[in-house]
Subunit: 213 residues, 2 copies
DNA sequence: AATTTCGGTGTACACATGTACGCTATTTTA
DNA sequence: TAAAATAGCGTACATGTGTACACCGAAATT
């Protein structure tokens, strides 16, 4: 089992994946791609598609997985930058904006399929976003010593705001991008501040109810 | 021009609109509908479609307009309830959740076309959401006497959070809905609180810079 | 009353789609 | 080395699509 065959197979599988990614654009969603188009772009006969995926859906789910992977790489980048010092919020937002400039179509894929017509796709995207949120939640809990529930609510809200800003960024002139980032940062500060205040109050309430026993 | 003819025309136009709305579901987006399907559902020959819309796109934009209208009715409902007393945030969230339970497919339409493949659709949806946001912004500015920028940022963030919660609600069991609403309310309180704090600080800064001249 | 307008129909066509089927050439296995 | 497996190809077909065109009958206009 040297694999000269399996190797070639893996290669054309990638060609299919890349072909699909390459066809995505602001005016072309994954669900508007046809099996034939993708196969042609990959330099394959339509029927050869089936040697690699049973379905366009199966290809699509693969793409979502790749997108999730890219997202997680992104987070690692952000953490590296943070370790070198700087505002967490500011760095996170800028990292995300760079991601969108470089991977607009991948982000579009996530945005679109999250509200798309396939339950499987929706679940896959939501899973990726949940990972993303939970990692942020952990960070907040540790770094800011927040109540678990408050930390989760803050993480969830922050991710929502950032994704929405990313969505806006996709239809933005580059010159407006900086301003959008600034607004987003301020909104995240609102949330952080509010979470902090309520986190304290939450503690107080619990203690006054004797829940620390 | 009595209009017995124009009347009938308006009627079948409505049939087309309703037919399209009727076909929408969690597994069927507007862009996946075909002209023929819609015409058939409306009891029309395919070619008759053109007597009313030049395009499926034109129908779609009409649907988005209707959705926006429904959204604004919703806001009036919310205001009525608020005048009778109660927490603004709580009532707004519950009103929105009711909207989604009753008009899931209309909300899906907005969600999907906002990130869809047609620039015209995206613009139309964003316009509706902007109206929605600006009215909330006005309210916040008046009721809470906030700085204009802070009020806008808060309104924008709040709408984002609520829409996102609405999106989650679409894939929710009814039993989890209440909990989702509670979480959303808390998140909105974070934002309101944060905006309030920063609103104060913002004032202070501006004054110390002599910007009140 | 004669003419025009127009909402609706049915036919027809070119085109794109998914996929079943059989074939070939090459790698893998026995 | 013989046999089996398999990636890829080409053909073929049924189905759904948008829409051009000619036509009809009733309402509107003159």
């Amino acid at each position: 089992m040297s694999g000269i065959r399996a190797l070639q197979k893996e290669k054309t599988r990638r060609q299919l994946i890349d072909a699909a990614l390459g066809q995505l654009s602001s005016e072309r969603s994954f669900s508007s791609l046809s099996l034939r188009e993708v196969a042609k772009e990959a330099g394959l006969a339509p029927t050869s598609f089936y040697r690699h995926f049973s379905d366009m859906d199966e290809l699509g789910l693969t793409l979502v997985d790749e997108a999730g992977l890219t997202l997680r790489q992104l987070m690692r980048q952000a953490r590296q930058r943070i370790e070198k010092g700087g505002s967490v919020i500011q760095i996170s937002v800028h990292t995300f904006m760079e991601f969108i400039e470089n991977n607009g179509n991948i982000f579009r894929l996530l945005l679109r399929e999250r509200s798309g017509t396939s339950p499987a796709f929706r679940a896959a995207v939501n899973r990726e976003i949940r990972y993303f949120t939970l990692e942020l939640c952990d960070y907040l809990q540790q770094a800011n010593k927040l109540d678990a529930e408050v930390a989760y609510l803050q993480a969830n809200a922050a991710v929502t705001i950032v994704f929405s800003a990313g969505s806006d960024a996709l239809d933005c002139d580059r010159k407006d991008l900086e301003e959008l980032a600034l607004r987003t940062i301020k909104q995240l500060r609102f949330i952080a501040r509010g979470a902090f205040e309520f986190g304290l109050r939450g503690d107080v309430r619990k203690r006054s109810r004797g829940e620390t026993k």
